[in-house]
């Protein structure tokens, strides 16, 4: 039994959305992926979800994984969400990374490396380009292989084979992405000479830490929601 009795009161549906975001900043990246725009005045989480046709249990689930370190959903909380909605959120996150976050980082990186000797700066931009390719490849694999497989798995009455074996693949690739990003952060933080774009570098690092945090939450979504969800379905079928 998890003994955090105050868990259910944190991030409750009745909470004002603005209060939730003021307390948990990382929710800011979640909202656009669910199609909830800013400028919502005093509305509550519940009201906004209804207005934008977002499933309230889904919002609560995602928000808690993002914001509460110790949160693991119960079977009941999982069952209130549809797998297709969860997958859609993950696909929207991928799109956000590829279309917004990564180009932003790339642009920023090119600007801040400008004062540096070309011989050195291309090393870093090449490293970044490789990283980006790795991320794109991984997302494509999830969207073209794993997600369709899961959609099929949930639609089938009788499972023909186990889906759990996918989870180790998930995990390894996310770890690789986080490691590479961490390498890049360390290069920028520790080994680029002090005189190269000091102010821009601070901004860049803050952006990269935020991105790294978001990617970590993204992989938590898969560890704490997707995988337990599949296990839950499997165990039901075996009963």
């Amino acid at each position: 039994m998890n003994n955090f009795s105050d868990l259910s009161s944190r991030l409750s549906p009745k909470m004002k959305m603005a209060d939730a975001i003021n307390q948990y900043h990382s929710l800011l990246t979640v909202l656009p992926r669910l199609g909830i725009p800013l400028g919502f005045g005093e509305k509550s989480v519940e009201q906004l979800c209804e207005e934008h046709r977002v499933s309230l249990p889904l919002f609560t689930l995602i928000a808690r994984v993002y914001c509460l370190e110790d949160y693991f959903p119960t079977a009941n909380e999982l069952q209130q969400c549809r797998m297709s909605d969860i997958l859609q959120y993950l696909v929207h996150s991928h799109k956000d990374y590829l279309e917004n976050k990564l180009p932003h980082i790339e642009h920023h990186l090119n600007t801040l490396l400008e004062p540096m000797d070309r011989k050195y700066s291309t090393l870093i931009t090449n490293f970044y380009a490789e990283f980006r390719k790795e991320v794109e490849k991984h997302f494509r694999y999830e969207e073209e292989v794993i997600f369709p497989y899961l959609r099929q798995f949930i639609s089938e009455e009788e499972a023909t084979e186990s889906a759990s074996y996918q989870k180790s693949t998930f995990h390894q690739q996310h770890d690789d992405i986080e490691d590479t990003l961490n390498d890049l952060i360390n290069l920028l933080l520790k080994y680029i000479p002090a005189e190269i774009s000091p102010a821009e570098r601070v901004d860049m690092l803050l952006d990269m830490y935020a991105f790294s945090n978001d990617i970590a939450k993204h992989s938590m979504m898969e560890d704490r929601i997707l995988v337990p969800y599949i296990q839950l379905l499997e165990s039901k079928r075996h009963d």
Partner: protein, 196 residues
């Protein structure tokens, strides 16, 4: 911040302990449970630094090999929450012991001691620059050599190469060979033309 998990079957003890630990500024309780199943299912994901656990949760046969139960978490410190007699060879597995009669001061100092051993490990030699030998290994890595080839070239054992590599990663915070190569060039350890 030290992340603490608690596994104690008695809710009276567990809640009491949580209450006390909340007063320690450097500690954060990230998980608390009364049974082993939920501990096992979550411990690898939440990766606490310290696990305060009552040995009574385990079958008698397992109590002598508790460490092995958590071997995937090599940095995890175990603290025994001892509510009945525990044989001394079982006690030795714990980095610290909390007993029922301990007062708050005593519990505080037990936790402090355990936490300090974590940070002592973290800081050990971390601020030292790369040694000459580590630089040699790094240069070989950047040239694309494998562990056994590096061992041959530097006349050291493969085991030693691996130790040097671990130290390089620990000191620089960089894991991939690609990024280590960038590091080597930025620090003029190697010229770009030397890389295949």
């Amino acid at each position: 911040m030290t992340k603490i998990a608690i596994a104690e079957p008695s809710s009276m003890l567990r809640i009491g302990l949580e209450q006390m630990l909340r007063e320690l500024p450097e500690a954060e309780i990230i998980f608390s449970t009364d049974n082993l199943n939920s501990l096992y299912s979550r411990i690898n994901a939440i990766r606490p630094d310290v696990l305060i656990v009552n040995p009574l949760l385990f079958d008698y046969a397992k109590r002598a090999t508790l460490r092995a139960e958590f071997e995937q978490l090599s940095n995890l410190r175990l603290v025994g929450l001892v509510s009945s007699y525990l044989e001394s060879q079982h006690q030795r597995q714990f980095a610290g012991i909390i007993e029922l009669n301990d007062d708050f001061q005593r519990i505080k100092s037990t936790i402090h001691q355990v936490v300090n051993t974590i940070h002592a490990d973290d800081e050990e030699a971390d601020t030292a620059p790369l040694s000459d030998r580590e630089k040699d290994v790094l240069v070989c890595l950047s040239k694309g050599l494998k562990n056994n080839e590096i061992a041959d070239q530097l006349n050291i054992s493969v085991h030693t190469v691996i130790t040097h590599r671990k130290n390089i990663v620990r000191k620089t915070g960089i894991k991939s060979v690609a990024a280590l190569t960038v590091y080597a060039i930025l620090n003029n350890l190697i010229e770009e033309k030397d890389i295949i």
